[in-house]
């Protein structure tokens, strides 16, 4: 019972100390989500990865300098400053190298990552060999101190994250331009290079701060995943940024409080795994780009297309044969569909009231006939348009019209009518009807 109470205490932020830590981390989550959206939209998702690795020489360098000037060389502020300087340097080097070599971003980021981290390792080797060096713990610094955040850290993190968030949201309009229309931004006088650098500075800040709470490898996830998940729910920029911020905050809140409950579950891991779960959920169920809704949408389109094919085949059968009843065998040669499939389409047609059946012979109902007329009319209008205005031969036009007619809206049909000015009547088919012999 007592355990449950303490769990609730933590989750609902009852405990003052936990409340500070959780709040600071959640703040970081919002900032990372927002800044990360810009990075992801700018296709620089892995910038955080490069920058975080390239911080190692900065950390070691700061340590060496501080030690040379006396002192233990382990002041947190000094190490963070070194990390930030190296991070900014790496972030600046990426666009410079890309412009001067013409190579792609990913190669440049990989090279800077390898070279930077290698330099860090080499410097670490020197630090180890130096007499009196007390470099132990520097490496764990770069990999983060997963679960051991204290209150003073949390306050600092929260404040830095809040400032970052403030800057990011006031500059949102400029960054959006940078993401979507660089050349327009240049044309109206936005300094692209300066904005790019600004964005990278924000990313470096988030990375340095994230170092404290989730570790350097995992802060990359905090930058990438919220934005990628938000993308499944909306196409709209402001909503995407907001949603990414919320996702980041939720994951950090869960991660920090779970880790406060169970010391064996490091905050960084829980945060990232929560993010991964949210991403997987969004990828499947997202209402905009999610897999499920895409499947449903394309299934709907396929059904509509099938129905229109059946209706048109029936109408064309009636037009060529003069008989208003048909069997499966009559329609089978008109398209490349199997008998089984055709039977299925007929069953669906009967169910939806387009087609009536009397002992194995089918006919269109009144509603079906109206619908079929409209379908045939759209098809022929489109064929005529293609023949007249796109120079497609009459013998080939059936195929091409078939590709577009199912997605023609009412407006497009009205426009076609105006272009072709043929009144209400359904035009003659420009090519012989019936399937291939």
């Amino acid at each position: 019972m007592q355990q449950v109470t303490s769990m609730l205490d933590i989750l609902l932020l009852g405990d003052w100390n936990t409340r500070i830590v959780v709040f600071g981390t959640a703040m970081l989550g919002v900032a990372a989500g927002v800044v990360g959206t810009f990075l992801v939209l700018r296709k620089r998702s892995l910038l955080g990865d490069t920058v975080s690795h390239a911080m190692l020489p900065g950390v070691v360098g700061a340590f060496l300098v501080m030690q040379a000037f006396g002192g233990g060389g382990k002041s947190l502020a000094g190490l963070l400053l070194g990390a930030a300087v190296a991070g900014v340097l790496a972030a600046w080097a990426i666009p410079v190298l890309r412009r001067s070599t013409g190579l792609k971003d990913d190669a440049i980021m990989g090279i800077v990552l390898g070279g930077g981290f290698g330099l860090g390792i080499a410097m670490l080797g020197v630090a180890q060999a130096l007499p009196g060096g007390n470099q132990a713990g520097l490496e764990s610094f770069i990999y983060g101190r997963a679960a051991s955040m204290v209150r003073s850290d949390a306050i600092g993190i929260g404040i830095t994250a809040a400032v970052t968030l403030l800057i990011a949201s006031t500059m949102a309009k400029e960054f959006r331009l940078l993401c979507f229309d660089e050349s327009f931004g240049r044309a109206i006088g936005r300094r692209e290079g300066l904005l790019d650098l600004g964005l990278m500075l924000l990313a470096v800040t988030v990375t340095v701060v994230g170092l404290q709470s989730v570790g350097l490898i995992l802060v990359i996830a905090l930058l990438i995943i919220p934005a990628s998940a938000a993308r499944f729910w909306t196409d709209e920029f402001v909503r995407m940024v907001t949603l990414a911020g919320v996702i980041g905050a939720v994951a950090c809140w869960i991660g920090a409080s779970v880790s406060a409950m169970a010391p064996k579950l490091p905050a960084g891991s829980i945060i990232v795994l929560t993010l991964a779960t949210l991403f997987a959920f969004s990828m499947v169920f997202g209402t905009r780009q999610g897999a499920l809704c895409r499947i449903v949408r394309s299934a709907g389109l396929r059904r509509r297309t099938d129905r229109q094919h059946l209706l048109r085949a029936a109408a064309e059968w009636m037009e060529t044969s003069g008989v208003d009843r048909w069997t499966i065998a009559n329609l089978a040669p008109m398209r490349s569909w199997s008998r089984g499939r055709l039977r299925l389409l007929h069953r669906r047609g009967v169910r939806s009231g387009d087609v009536a059946v009397t002992d194995d012979r089918f006919m269109l109902t009144k509603a079906g006939r109206l619908a079929a007329d409209r379908v045939v009319r759209n098809h022929r209008l489109w064929e005529l348009f293609l023949i007249r205005h796109a120079d497609i031969a009459a013998s080939h036009v059936d195929r091409d019209a078939d590709l577009v007619e199912h997605v023609l809206g009412e407006e497009a049909v009205v426009e076609l009518e105006q272009v072709l000015t043929r009144g209400d009547a359904t035009p003659q088919s420009p090519h012989p009807l019936g399937g291939d012999p």
Partner: protein, 440 residues
């Protein structure tokens, strides 16, 4: 420095470089340069599971686990990229960070019983590799040489066999598919090869060299050549050079800087050298380097300036205008926009080429200069006439367009223009088109 130790380190480094260069070159041309780093983090859960199953820190289980989770991460990245329509970099980032945190979580669970550190479990160290030897056909060789040689052989063989397929699917996946093999399977194959190579190299020499050697030498090679075959060859060579130089730098450079017999991590230094080689190539590569491109730009600018000066003198002569030195140089500065320093160079080149000279206080075209200037002005006015008839550029703007085109018009193009323009004797501004005395 003894061969037994340092020689083996360099040899192992060269071997790793060759192993990495082959899949690395394909990754770089496919825009997946960050793959090595992603796999280096993504193997963690496999290592942890391998440890949990076997209970020991050495042995095949951890290697197997690493390979499986590396391949799994690569495949999952591709699935997220394709099904979720997530940009490839983002897909990579979210998969490997998730894997890494899962691994971290597993390791923390075991941390009570054994000291299993997140970043040095499987990762070997190149400095230690020569010490662990086995007997191979009577010769004592470092143990890691064997798996590395096998991986290298597999990489080279597979690349030779599937070269055409890899090439087609890297640069034109539609072509690849239309040729009857699925670009997708080639891609998955490459991912598996990359993951296996990475894991073998991590185990032998550690992750940092692997990640660096996978990207930097192929990217450097791309600055030196554009033929894929040569990219592969150069990448292997550059990687090998970086390995050798890196080790030598590791044992000498710290000593130079800080004195004493200091040395440092060979792995780190090798990675640094790959970066340095890249910077050198980016700066000095023939054709694509910064230096070469700047030089080409300057040469073009110089040629254009000289041509503009000749054109100016020709037009002044044509209108029987004053070619007083100060007037001409003022016009060159204000109309043709030649800066003072370039002006001096232009003057010197004109004099040296015997194209124009200062006669008393006046500029004077020589015969050679006049003939060159006349063909230039001819190209200019042909362009104006041509554009006036065939484009919507207003007459007042024709000059600016022709001014640019005249510098890139060769003899063939002039002949085509002549044919197009016909027996026109005047340009749209009423100026005569000079006869081509040079070519006819």
């Amino acid at each position: 420095m003894t061969f037994d130790y340092d020689g083996w380190i360099i040899l192992i480094g060269v071997l790793v470089a060759a192993c990495c260069a082959v899949p690395g070159s394909w990754l770089v041309v496919r825009g997946m340069g960050m793959m090595g780093d992603a796999i280096s983090h993504a193997v963690l859960p496999g290592i942890a599971l391998g440890f949990l199953i076997s209970g020991t820190r050495s042995g095949g289980w951890m290697f197997l686990g690493a390979a499986v989770s590396g391949v799994l991460a690569a495949v999952l990245t591709q699935l997220v990229h394709r099904w979720g329509r997530v940009e490839r970099g983002a897909a990579m980032g979210l998969v490997f960070t998730s894997f890494f945190s899962l691994g971290l979580l597993l390791i923390v669970q075991t941390a009570d019983t054994v000291d299993l550190d997140a970043n040095c479990v499987l990762y070997g160290a190149i400095e230690l590799a020569p010490l662990d030897t086995i007997d191979l056909l009577g010769i004592e060789v470092p143990r890691v040489v064997v798996p590395l040689a096998i991986v290298l052989l597999a990489n080279v063989l597979l690349t030779l066999v599937f070269y055409k397929e890899l090439l087609a699917s890297s640069f034109d996946s539609a072509l690849a598919t239309s040729q009857g093999f699925a670009a997708r399977w080639i891609h998955y194959g490459l991912m598996v090869l990359t993951a296996a190579t990475c894991v073998a190299c991590f185990e032998a020499v550690g992750s940092i060299i692997t990640v660096a050697l996978l990207v930097a030498p192929p990217a450097t090679a791309l600055l030196l050549t554009r033929r894929m075959k040569w990219v592969l060859v150069w990448a292997i060579g550059l990687g090998g050079a970086a390995a050798g130089l890196g080790h030598i730098a590791a044992i000498t450079v710290p000593g130079w800087i800080l004195g004493g017999g200091l040395d440092t991590s060979s792995a780190g230094m090798m990675a640094v050298i790959t970066f340095v080689l890249f910077l050198v190539a980016a700066f000095a590569a023939p054709g694509r380097g910064v230096l070469a491109r700047r030089w080409a730009t300057r040469r073009d600018a110089m040629r254009i300036a000289i041509e503009d000066a000749l054109g100016l003198l020709f037009r002044l002569e044509e209108r029987s205008m004053d070619t007083d030195r100060e007037v001409v140089e003022h016009l060159l500065r204000s109309d043709v926009r030649i800066g003072p320093r370039r002006l001096a160079a232009v003057r010197a080149r004109l004099r040296r080429g015997a194209l124009a000279r200062v006669d008393g206080t006046c500029w004077q075209l020589t015969d050679a200069g006049r003939s060159e200037a006349s063909s230039l002005v001819r190209a200019h006015r042909l362009w104006e006439t041509y554009l006036a008839g065939r484009s919507t550029i207003p007459t007042s703007h024709l000059h600016a367009a022709a001014e640019r085109l005249e510098h890139v018009t060769d003899r063939e193009l002039v002949e085509e223009l002549e044919a197009e323009v016909g027996p026109q004797r005047e340009d749209p501004h009423g100026r005569p088109i000079p006869e081509s005395d040079l070519w006819n």
